[in-house]
Symmetry: C2
Subunit: 198 residues, 2 copies
Amino acid sequence: MLKGEGNWREARRASARAAVLVAAWELVRADGPAALSMRELARRAGITTPTVYAYFESKNAIFDAMFAEAAQSFVELKAAVPTTDDPRQDLLAEARAFVEFCVSDAPRYQLLFQRSVPGFTPSPESYELAVSALEVTRGLLARNGVHDPRHLDIWTAVTVGLVDQQVSNDPDGDRWSRLVDDVTQMFLDRYATGGVSS
Amino acid sequence: MLKGEGNWREARRASARAAVLVAAWELVRADGPAALSMRELARRAGITTPTVYAYFESKNAIFDAMFAEAAQSFVELKAAVPTTDDPRQDLLAEARAFVEFCVSDAPRYQLLFQRSVPGFTPSPESYELAVSALEVTRGLLARNGVHDPRHLDIWTAVTVGLVDQQVSNDPDGDRWSRLVDDVTQMFLDRYATGGVSS
DNA sequence: GTCTATATAGCGATAGAC
DNA sequence: GTCTATCGCTATATAGAC
């Protein structure tokens, strides 16, 4: 059963890669994306540096795999937000979930949404995954009568703004993240159907 | 004239320090705050590394001086925004100026408002300078009937959100920065006198 | 695949001559 | 104050034995 053995080997390899990524996330969560070092990563994973290179061809390949994991989590977060018959409540629920997603793991947020690693650009596939998650938000906004792409950009700016201020200026508190309800109401009162458009 | 000679020496020293900082800004503007290297800095400034240490005791001291310069520019920007008899127009003018200030020099924005240099924290004086600039904004908001500190936080989040999205996702365009007028209207229509407060 | 050992390069910072 | 020279360390990445 060569094919079965091949799959088994593949699974072993995948789980070994996953273990390296677990250690990578530990380091990045502790000291930020820029602090990831191959030596320290290997030490944390209980292997040596050359072994890391047996699974990832470069440090950027590790960042790309991490970016893809983060993007996948982001997509799943969007999918997990329940849909009701109240579009406003749905958007609010998504906003709360988004802010919590970012604030609860600031380094992941920095890797996914800011360009915080000099010299690293996500691969097109990984990036596309992250962008596609925006489609869910576009749909939620449409159900609230918001169709203008500019207003989608305003929405992302407003939510990201809360996250960025929270992470940068009050990393252990909730000074900005607690404002998500107010901000969502402000946005919807302005741009949801019935609001003025210029 | 020992005192005069002392002042002259001080001026020389200050201008030499300033020259180092000019080179530091060149490097940081080119490759981001994390890319600042003492060797490259010295090379760019036309001196050697030990000479840099004659003027700054460490790399972090350079970052702190840069932070102070950026904070000073920030304060001056706020002071330069003209005041009219129309509070809404004044806040709008300040918002436009702020976004332009950040977007036109993203690395400076990252150094000043994000925690983008691992291990660097601005000195209390430099930080206080940056915080004090917020007082101007507080006054502008008060003239618009916005007094709740939470609403000041919302205002900073909203403006920073535009900047962050612009810098992270469209660094050479104006996809988000052009929305500053819309966002300001949304904010004022919601929170300026006459708006609902809960 | 995993190791030891190392290549190659860069880093921040300092000693000591002048 | 400015230099040459260097310390001590870290970085990513690879060669080659097993």
